[in-house]
């Protein structure tokens, strides 16, 4: 009897934490507070600036420019959860919807035209662990807003701050820097790069990994 009892107990002892661990899921806070934008200054490092926008589809305006200066974060909302690496805690990184929005905005603001789906082209890849101007949320925020001297345009005044933070969350997801439980929605487009959350944070891959067609 004793032996019989011990087995389920031991199994339970293993299963319980396992169950608890596997129950870990996205802790969704419904009001994510974007970080304060004053972590960046008003200096534009790049001579290239995103300019006039023109809607070219019949369905919708492609972009939603803010046109204004950097907005302060909305007051009175408590930070959602524990801070991520870096100076700034970007609550959007714990929110799948926000990361999905970041993906949508990444396409709408033509980030995809230079960085493609993470592999790079005109701009460097975003899916590896090489970061010329830093991989922390506030560094990526600054890179988008200020621009960078070797060709990254400044989007200051073109994207509202909370959307930039959403793009930052998506960009960091491309190299697997976000928690696995913040799974983005299914991508309905042509099979491209592996889904962001299946990425390992690893060096650039220059030789063939599998055959992707």
């Amino acid at each position: 009897m004793k032996r019989l009892n011990r087995f389920p107990l031991a199994a339970l002892a293993i299963a319980m934490p396992l169950a608890v661990w596997s129950c870990k899921r996205e802790e969704r806070s419904f009001r994510v507070q974007p970080p304060a934008a004053d972590t960046t200054d008003k200096v534009i490092v790049s001579k290239l600036r995103a300019g006039q926008m023109m809607a070219t589809t019949t369905q919708r305006a492609a972009t939603e420019p803010s046109g204004g200066p950097i907005a302060p974060p909305p007051p009175g909302i408590a930070p959602a959860s524990k801070p991520s690496a870096g100076l700034v805690h970007n609550g959007y990184e714990e929110n799948a919807y926000a990361v999905g929005e970041g993906n949508r905005l990444y396409l709408a603001y033509n980030c995809v035209g230079c960085h493609f789906h993470g592999g790079g082209g005109i701009g460097p890849p975003l899916m590896d662990d090489t970061w010329i101007y830093g991989s922390n949320p506030e560094q990526i925020f600054a890179t988008i807003v200020e621009g960078r001297p070797n060709g990254m345009p400044s989007f200051r005044g073109k994207i509202v701050d909370y959307q930039v933070w959403q793009i930052v969350a998506y960009v960091r997801s491309m190299s697997g820097m976000l928690s696995k439980d913040v799974a983005p929605g299914r991508d309905d487009h042509m099979a491209g790069a592996p889904p962001p959350n299946s990425m390992r944070y690893q060096p650039p891959q220059w030789s063939t990994v599998g055959t992707i067609r």
């Binding site: 789906h117 070797n150 790069a193 220059w206």
Partner: protein
């Protein structure tokens, strides 16, 4: 201290000596060059051979044929490296080494250094660097270069070197001293513009076109005054006739190209302002008819659903008066282009028998998969011969001159269309052909590329890409193991006489000589000599492994020692090699507009580089 002083004095003395030597050498060069300046001997298809290579196309007809014959099919196997020079830039080296007298001129990718090298010293194993000109190209321009930071070369005329910079400037530099004579700003990177093409200098005008078809740029060709660099005329590729310099002289051959302001009417409202049609390829000149010829690039965006209409004058060949820019005729190769099939490829000027009659023609090996032979006086398409498996089009209607697209392969928003061939870079991209008046063959380095293509919604933001397509490329079904083809094409019989296949794309240009040897390079880094004769099947006579893959333009010249040399830049890159030159990540098959998928093995074969190689017989 004493040693230091001695050294310094020594240096000084040597400096003085060097300057004196340079001046004598330069004077000699200048003397030689004024008598052989381009434009004086361009009247025939086979000009008198002076042993120089003063412009990228060798001559105004862009034959890339040299009359030198010391290196021939027998002895080419003995070629050895004569000298090398490090270019200091590790991006795609697409420029030709230009040779004037005993000086060689080379332009690098961004930051667009221009070097003058003393060939005499180089041959003797001494330091060949005469001068280096740095145009201080704006670094941000790298962000509007669609396809690596390439530059396709400089042009020598009348003691001056002309070339363009990535940040939309044209430079005129004293060929002897490297001193800037003038520098003109032609556009703005903030509109997505850049320049990668080599200018053409003719009749006192420097002809320059812009790049940026992937940024919704409005294309143009501009003529600058050769002496002071001021803009004489600018012909836009889209917009009202007055902007396109379409006036009373304009007589297109086909009726569908006639009518007022087609550059506006063939677009949705205002879309012509961001409609592409850039001019980043080759300009040729025919002194007989006194006309220049060039092609315009793809319409913006790539996604065709955003721009219903024919989208004139994108993907169009123009004939214009070099003095005024006025258009004489136009032929739109790809009305309402579906696949980024720019038609900027060279229009080689030849006189050919066509169906038994001697005709003045241009040959245009099209990106859309057809080799066009066009009457260069009227713009009539005489023939359009396929030179690649084609699923994108069903042919060219010779009655109307219109391309017949395959409706099954038309891109749609939200749908992936598979096995479109030729892919976006076309059957042939920028890499220029060569024509031998001896063999009567056209030597065409090109590619075997198909693609999957998904049009997606996109919006225009000035200074950012305006593409709207997810694409992945791969080798075409005709031969999945080979991305590169090198063809010898007989334009009279309209058939491919022989074909060489390469694992990677033949992204380098080619040249051919009176020794019946043709040269080209491969992306995995071999510089090759081929038997150019029709009955030799494209036999490889010699090859040499260089440091980095080749995407450049070979040239050949006679050195100050009277010997023939062959020169090429090594340094992989360009659109096809951006995976290596831009450190891209192979896991995203859509990277570099889908090119990454096709060349994902390339990083195993080559690294970045930037070295000039000159070969000679021992």
């Amino acid at each position: 201290m004493l040693t230091g002083n001695w050294l310094r004095y020594g240096c000084h003395l040597r400096g003085v000596l060097a300057v004196a030597l340079l001046m004598t050498a330069a004077a000699a060069v200048h003397g030689a060059s004024t008598t052989t300046a381009p434009g004086t001997n361009q009247e025939t298809n086979a000009p008198h051979e002076d042993g120089q290579w003063t412009q990228p196309g060798k001559d105004y007809q862009n034959t890339r044929y040299s009359g030198l014959d010391q290196i021939n099919t027998e002895n080419v196997k003995n070629l050895k490296v004569s000298w090398e020079f490090s270019l200091g830039v590790n991006r795609g080296q697409e420029a030709p080494p230009i040779v004037v007298g005993s000086t060689m001129y080379v332009v690098t990718p961004y930051p667009n250094y221009c070097y003058a090298l003393d060939i005499d010293k180089a041959i003797k194993g001494e330091n060949p660097l005469k001068w280096k000109y740095d145009p201080k190209t704006e670094a941000a321009a790298q962000g509007v270069a669609c396809c690596d930071h390439v530059n396709r070369g400089c042009f020598y005329d009348d003691g001056k070197i002309y070339f363009n910079t990535l940040d939309v400037h044209t430079c005129c530099v004293d060929a002897r001293t490297g001193k800037e004579i003038w520098k003109t700003k032609l556009g703005d990177i903030n509109s997505g513009e850049s320049i990668t093409m080599a200018p053409l200098v003719v009749k006192g005008k420097v002809l320059v076109g812009n790049s940026g078809g992937e940024f919704g740029v409005r294309g143009w060709l501009t003529a600058l005054d050769q002496n002071d660099g001021h803009i004489v005329w600018r012909a836009y590729s889209t917009g009202p006739d007055s902007d396109c310099l379409i006036g009373s002289q304009f007589k297109p051959f086909y009726d569908w190209l006639k009518g007022k302001d087609l550059g506006v009417k063939s677009w949705p409202a205002d879309h012509w302002k961001i409609g592409g049609g850039t001019v980043w390829g080759w300009v040729t000149y025919d002194p007989d008819l006194d006309l220049i010829y060039y092609g315009t690039a793809n319409p913006g965006s790539w996604n065709p659903e955003l721009r219903p209409g024919d989208n004139q004058w994108s993907a169009t060949i123009f004939a214009r008066d070099p003095d005024t820019g006025q258009a004489h005729w136009a032929y739109q190769v790809n009305p309402h282009d579906l696949y980024d099939h720019d038609e900027i490829n060279e229009n080689i000027i030849l006189d050919l028998p066509v169906d038994g009659k001697d005709r003045k023609v241009i040959i245009h090996p099209g990106r859309n998969g057809y080799i066009y032979i066009i009457d260069r006086g009227t713009g009539e398409v005489l023939s359009a011969t396929p030179y690649i498996r084609n699923t994108a089009a069903k042919g060219v209607d010779l009655k109307t001159g219109r391309l017949i697209p395959n409706p099954e392969k038309a891109p749609q928003v939200g749908k992936v269309i598979r096995d479109i061939e030729p892919a976006s870079p076309g059957a042939k991209d920028w890499q220029p052909c060569a024509w031998s008046p001896r063999t009567k063959l056209l030597y065409i380095p090109h590619q075997n590329l198909a693609c999957d293509y998904e049009a997606v919604d996109t919006g225009y933001i000035a200074g950012t890409p305006y593409v709207g397509v997810n694409e992945t490329m791969y080798a075409g079904a005709e031969d999945p193991a080979h991305l590169g083809f090198y063809d010898a094409f007989d334009p009279v019989a309209k058939k491919i006489v022989w074909r060489i296949k390469e694992k990677f794309l033949c992204w380098s240009g080619t040249c051919v000589t009176a020794g019946d040897v043709a040269f080209y390079g491969t992306m995995d880094g071999y510089f090759k000599a081929i038997d150019a004769r029709p009955d030799q099947g494209g036999k490889e006579l010699w090859k040499f492994k260089v440091a980095s893959g080749i995407v450049g333009q070979p040239t050949t010249f006679k050195g100050p020692d009277g010997k023939q040399y062959v020169a090429i830049l090594s340094g992989v890159g360009g659109w096809a090699g951006a995976l290596v030159s831009g450190d891209l990540d192979v896991r995203d098959p859509t990277g570099a507009l889908g090119f990454v998928n096709a060349v994902k093995e390339l990083p195993k074969y080559t690294t970045k580089g930037g070295v000039l190689y000159v070969f000679g017989l021992p």
